[in-house]
């Protein structure tokens, strides 16, 4: 009976995984490999059927890495991401500290969370065009507001200036994501054992000290998770820069995703170059994912270790010896 159970049910593990595996192979793995392959070919132009491998297989990669627009897109992505992430994480941390403060209980936290998260769920394409309209020139709500407040005398053409255009894209990203980050961090703090805080309170710790010495160290993994997923998200940034200014003005908001799209699906349809650029992006993302993967794995391993500790004393000692 027992033997039968072990053998006969295991096959359902395979059977139930078939849909996922088949669809993944067809629609994800094959396209990735195909993209990688096309990166080594001369495949370009609309309606082209045949392609050949290039004499120098890395020609597309060399061209892309030396392409000014691509380099610009990498640096834009980095600038916009940084300008969005630093204020985003700082604001999220401050809000997290306030919302989880044990001494000063704020009211309406639930409502605040709902409203702060709102921009994140709205179609990014619509938001980009909304901001394009809001920053309109010579008439637009933002210009009207700034004139009414007496901050400027004449309307400013925000969209044509490289720095302000980038700033607006970074602001939209910040505005869309700080609520998300805050909710993640708050739930992380709620996961920290209240005993630690109680003990600290008995010792006379102030709220700020508790945040600095207890909350932050305990949030380390979650902060890294937020950092890395945000970086990967930043590399994929497409909807906002594409819809806001089509990567302009003068390539100031051209991100790597917009670059790839433009190479492949407009102008001369350089599928091979776009494929090479995709693979470069893939490698960068794989690198960041590997770090994240390691972090999440480590966490599971620690949990497993804890379980083992409870079960087997001898095993625990060996583990500790390993740790040392």
């Amino acid at each position: 009976m027992k033997r039968k159970k072990g053998v006969s049910y295991a096959k359902y593990g395979y059977i139930f995984s078939i849909p996922f595996a088949v669809i993944f192979l067809i629609f994800s793995l094959y396209p990735i490999l195909y993209t990688a392959l096309l990166g080594f070919t001369d495949f370009k132009g609309l309606g082209t059927k045949s392609w050949h491998f290039l004499d120098n297989p890395f020609q597309n990669f060399i061209l892309i890495l030396n392409n000014d627009s691509f380099r610009q897109s990498l640096s834009n992505t980095f600038i916009i991401w940084t300008a969005n992430f630093i204020p985003q994480i700082l604001l999220a941390l401050v809000l997290t500290a306030w919302f989880t403060s044990r001494r000063n209980k704020l009211k309406g936290k639930g409502l605040f969370k709902v409203i702060f998260y709102l921009p994140n769920i709205i179609t990014a394409a619509s938001i980009a065009i909304l901001f394009y309209s809001l920053f309109g020139y010579p008439v637009g709500p933002v210009n009207s507001l700034l004139i009414k407040l007496g901050l400027i005398d004449t309307p400013v053409y925000f969209l044509i200036n490289k720095a302000t255009a980038r700033g607006i894209v970074a602001f939209i990203q910040f505005w869309m994501w700080y609520g998300y980050t805050m909710i993640i961090l708050v739930s992380g703090v709620l996961g920290i054992s209240p005993d630690i805080y109680e003990a600290a309170e008995i010792d006379g710790t102030t709220g700020l000290q508790a945040f600095w010495y207890i909350t932050l160290p305990n949030l380390k993994t979650i902060l890294l998770y937020v950092l890395i997923t945000s970086m990967i998200g930043g590399l994929n940034m497409y909807d906002i820069p594409k819809m806001f200014m089509q990567g302009g003005p003068d390539n100031a908001t051209l991100t790597t995703s917009v670059f790839i799209y433009n190479q492949a699906f407009s102008g001369s349809y350089l599928y091979n170059r776009a494929a090479a650029a995709s693979m470069i992006m893939f490698l960068i993302i794989a690198f960041f994912s590997a770090i994240l993967f390691y972090l999440l794995r480590d966490k599971d391993a620690i949990e497993r270790r804890k379980e083992n500790k409870r079960m087997r004393k001898a095993y625990k000692e060996r583990q500790e010896a390993e740790k040392l």
């Binding site: 395979y14 990735i32 605040f112 993302i285």
Partner: protein, 282 residues
Amino acid sequence: MKKNKKSQSVLFKVVAYSVCILLVILSILPFWIMFVNATRSTFQIQQDALSFIPSKYLISNIQILLGKTFDPLRGLINSTIISASSTLCTIYFSALTAYALVAYNWKLRSPFFTFIMAVMMIPAQVSSIGFYQFMYKIGMTNNFLALILPTIATPAAVFFMRQFMLASLPLELVEAARIDGAGEFYTFNKIVLPIMKPAMATQAIFSFVSSWNSLFLPLILLTKSEKYTMPIMVSLLRGDIYKTEYGAVYLGLALTVLPIFIIYFLLSKYIVEGVALGGVKG
């Protein structure tokens, strides 16, 4: 000392509430301006683009908007078909895959899970060239199935479902069903799925919204205007034909945003909870 603490606490509350209210305004204001300007005429907007009071030009804006290429009803129907089918595929097959990972002891179980974790972060963009060429070759561009079928394999949803199942699916129940002679597939559909309802509901909301909002792949695959989804439709508002029709542009934006607004305010509690569970990244 006590008094000092009290005044400190008052100061804290003043600062905290002020900042929060400022952020509330920041979150709401752009949408408020959008909804208000959707009811104002282009002339009014040109006079003063910033107004908080709705006007009475909604009907004329609707006429201008619909008189051109923007077809919100078509976009709504297409987006609903794609998003609803994608959502069903995602939640059903993710639950099935997660069940395979949790309930059965098979040799490749842990490598398979590791693999799912590893590919979780790969975005659609990096394989888009190969994906497009592949779809083009088999004649599936302008076919919604090209956007729906891939969602059967959604690694992040499998991960989320697995975490939920590990915590709240009693395997004794499955054992009991076996003793009663239920088939494995029957057990999954009739016993496991009902238990998974909360996780499926959370995942359904996020799959639906992310599918509804997605732009990159639909923009590549759907080139015929009768196949346009809402986000592609939106991009028309950025074009030359609506260049001077400010009121109509705001109205078009408002129409694309409205369905998500309604869903959000109906389900906000579950959505915020779902985000807190960390199961999703939009």
